[in-house]
Amino acid sequence: MSTLSVIPTGFAIARIREDFPVLKQTIHGKPLVYLDSAATAQKPFEVIDAIRKFHEVDCANIHRGVHELSQRSTAAYEEARAKAKKFLNSRSKNELIFVRGTTEGINLVASSWGRKNVKAGDEIVLSAMEHHSNIVPWQMLCEETGAKLRVIPINERGELLLEEYEKLLGPRTRMVAVAHVSNALGTINPVRRIIEMAHQHGALALIDGAQAAPHLKIDVQALDADFYAFSGHKVVGPTGIGILYGKTKLLNAMPPYQGGGDMIRTVTFEKTTYNDLPYKFEAGTPNIAGGIGLGAALDYVTRIGLDKIAAYEHELLVYGTEALLRIPGLRLIGTARDKAAVLSFVIEGIHPHDIGTVLDRQGIAVRTGHHCAQPVMDWFHVPATTRASLAFYNTREEIDALVAGLAKVKEVFS
């Protein structure tokens, strides 16, 4: 991998790769080819250094000390929230809640908004391609309240059928919860239209942005999303931190999610009054280092530019799609016309786990399994797939390495 191809968009890939220390290693004696960014993205020095600096220099609890270190940590943490506001283009930073990740964000809404607003006979609309994290919290809510799940079907390319979606919407629809980008298929869903249609029927819309945040420019105001959640670790930030966006009037009307310190204004044994947004939803000492790391990550990807990232990744996707389709017996799972850089596939007669093991021995990291999206696997009648998911630090040479690796796989199992 000494010569890196010239990228038409002028993307400085060689320099970008220098920012990611993890990429410089060998695995089983081969250069690491990391194609599992949809599971978690690698971290640039900037993020690693920001977390280290917090622990080395500024470490203190936030929102409660008058001493210098506490003020510094509070400022750094709140600055990260301001960066998230810019990243999502929300109206106010008070409508951005720090959570552990997308999963907690969705659980917060299902639990807090759901229990207050969803009654027996109401309906929650999801899509057939949702990650388990955007299915199970709603299912739990339905079990508790007697509400029902309705599922938007997909076509053989892995695209949502909007005309079927339209039919599912009705007076009992309370919430539409859909992924912006599918983790298993790569499909980019027309969420603006989906939200608009939900609103026309008086329902709210929550968007699972876990796979969109690293690849697309997000504008929650333009989308008119009621809730939008994403995870830091998929967008080159640390694990254990993410953001839930919610419209102020919705968040204000919702009861707290967890009780504890920081989310209160006054506490007596008779009565507790709650803090303002966003703190009402942030009980206990948060993941301060994670928040600061997330801020650094958002700075990093914003500086490169989400538009440039999307364009570069699209070139990789086109290159990778063509390369994989030349392999006899390989079937791509997820061929949406609007697609993020995810290459999910099956090879006739070879189980994804065997593919994954043989690729690993060649230094190539892919994800194998059902990708926490068992319903969509069932739809395509496959128990599992092999998924190569690309990020802006990947190269065409790495896709070539994948293709060569798959040739080796076929050799072993021929």
């Binding site: 089983h28 189980h351 065997d354 093991t357 059902h370 696997m377």
Partner: protein, 145 residues
């Protein structure tokens, strides 16, 4: 490169699994599931006078889990229930410990390479977990988790 894991016998049994069919007159049945990879396995065992006289399986899985089920059903025939349970323990030790390889294992020693691939241990043990529930009469599908 991966020859230590995918030994000839394993590849052979994964491509041409033995005893891979349903069994009408089985008197022990169990289902196994590996949620990690979605592998599902149905195991059929016939026990007469406390001796396994026949064993077979159905299901789809990776090369390791298919070969493991195939070789397991072969090695069970003629074993008493106690011997089968002991073999299960020996097999488990082979995959998860550094203890010397027991000669009771016979052909099953080809799975010794799995020890170096911790992510694949569950693939190799799925059939054996299922056997345990078949022999002990557990009705619920067993999972590797």
């Amino acid at each position: 490169m991966v020859d230590d894991l995918y030994q000839e016998i394993i590849l052979d049994h994964s491509k041409r699994p033995r005893n891979c069919h349903a069994m009408q007159d089985a008197n022990r049945k169990a289902e196994g599931y590996n949620p990690l990879c979605g592998d599902k396995l149905k195991l059929y065992v016939k026990i007469e006078n406390d001796v396994v006289t026949d064993a077979s399986f159905e299901g789809s899985g990776c090369a390791i889990s298919t070969a493991s089920a195939s070789l397991m059903t072969e090695s069970l025939k003629g074993k008493s229930r106690d011997e089968a349970m002991k073999l299960l323990d020996r097999f488990h030790d082979l995959l998860t410990t550094d203890t010397p390889v027991s000669k009771d294992l016979g052909k099953l020693v080809v799975f010794c390479g799995v020890r170096d691939y911790p992510a694949r241990v569950k693939c190799a043990t799925l059939a054996w977990h299922t056997l345990k529930s078949a022999l002990t009469g557990v009705v619920e599908p067993v999972t590797t988790e």
